[in-house]
């Protein structure tokens, strides 16, 4: 599915959509950045509650398709600025990680 479709299914709040037609082919959930770096597949949707600027670096370097902030977490200002600058897709949902993944896992 595309990032755009993911946004619709999750009814997510959009913070930055640089490439909404990007294909999401996998997923990863976690907050430890090194674990994400090492394990999140390229073009995955990354579900996390981490909201600092380092999230952007990890998303860029690991080439995830979209970052999904969960539990109503909002990006802090440095993160928001950086995702806009780097063209990283960033969305947010109210559900916790389990709830958000449950909504989309059969579609990815």
């Amino acid at each position: 599915m595309t990032v755009k479709e993911l946004v619709q299914v999750l009814d997510a709040k959009v913070y930055n959509l640089d490439d909404e037609m990007r294909e999401v082919t996998s997923g990863y959930a976690g907050d430890f950045l090194s674990a994400v770096m090492g394990k999140a597949p390229t073009d995955s949707a990354w579900f996390t509650i981490m909201n600092n600027v380092n999230v952007c670096a990890v998303a860029t370097l690991a080439e995830v398709a979209v970052v999904v902030l969960c539990e109503g977490v909002e990006p802090d200002e440095p993160l928001l600025n950086k995702v806009k600058m780097q063209g990283v897709n960033l969305i947010a949902v109210k559900e916790d990680i389990f709830g958000a993944v449950k909504k989309v896992c059969h579609l990815i």
Binding site: L33, S34, A35, N52, V53, N54, V58, L61
Partner: protein, 142 residues
């Protein structure tokens, strides 16, 4: 072609988590322009980012020297930080000495060095307490 290479040097600032990762991002963008396969770029990005972050967290910063050839990249990370007392322990997945405030940012999973070893084709680390740490990595393309 075989003899052509790009040399890059980066200063990595200690304890600055806003700029952390910028050297890795710059190297990634160079490799992208060169047309290196994305799976290889990803390995370089992960290995170098982990090294960069380690210098930010533990060593008060350091330098990254990068030599890019048509078929490989050599990365040398050098710091004058406190050094690693027990290298064997430090290499174990899940072992971390990152302070609590750094863990709150999402670091300190104890996966930094294991990730570097996993994604680099050649990995060497030398460390002396009170002197510093040097990491050498090579990643082959293709």
């Amino acid at each position: 072609m075989a003899n052509q290479f790009i040399h890059q040097e980066y200063l990595v600032a200690g304890n600055n988590f806003n700029s952390a990762g910028s050297a890795s991002e710059a190297v990634k963008s160079t490799l992208k322009k060169m047309g290196v396969a994305s799976s290889d770029i990803r390995r370089v990005a992960i290995a170098m980012y982990e090294g960069e972050i380690n210098m930010v967290i533990h060593a008060g910063g350091g330098i990254a020297l990068v030599d890019i050839y048509y078929d490989k990249i050599n990365i040398l990370l050098n710091d004058k930080g406190k050094g690693i007392a027990d290298l064997e322990k430090a290499m174990q997945p899940g072992y971390s000495t990152a302070p609590e405030e750094v863990q709150r940012l999402g670091f300190g999973a104890g996966m930094g060095l294991p990730n570097m070893k996993k994604y680099a084709d050649v990995f060497d680390i030398q460390s002396e307490v009170g002197v510093g740490t040097t990491v050498k990595m090579t990643i082959y393309f293709g």
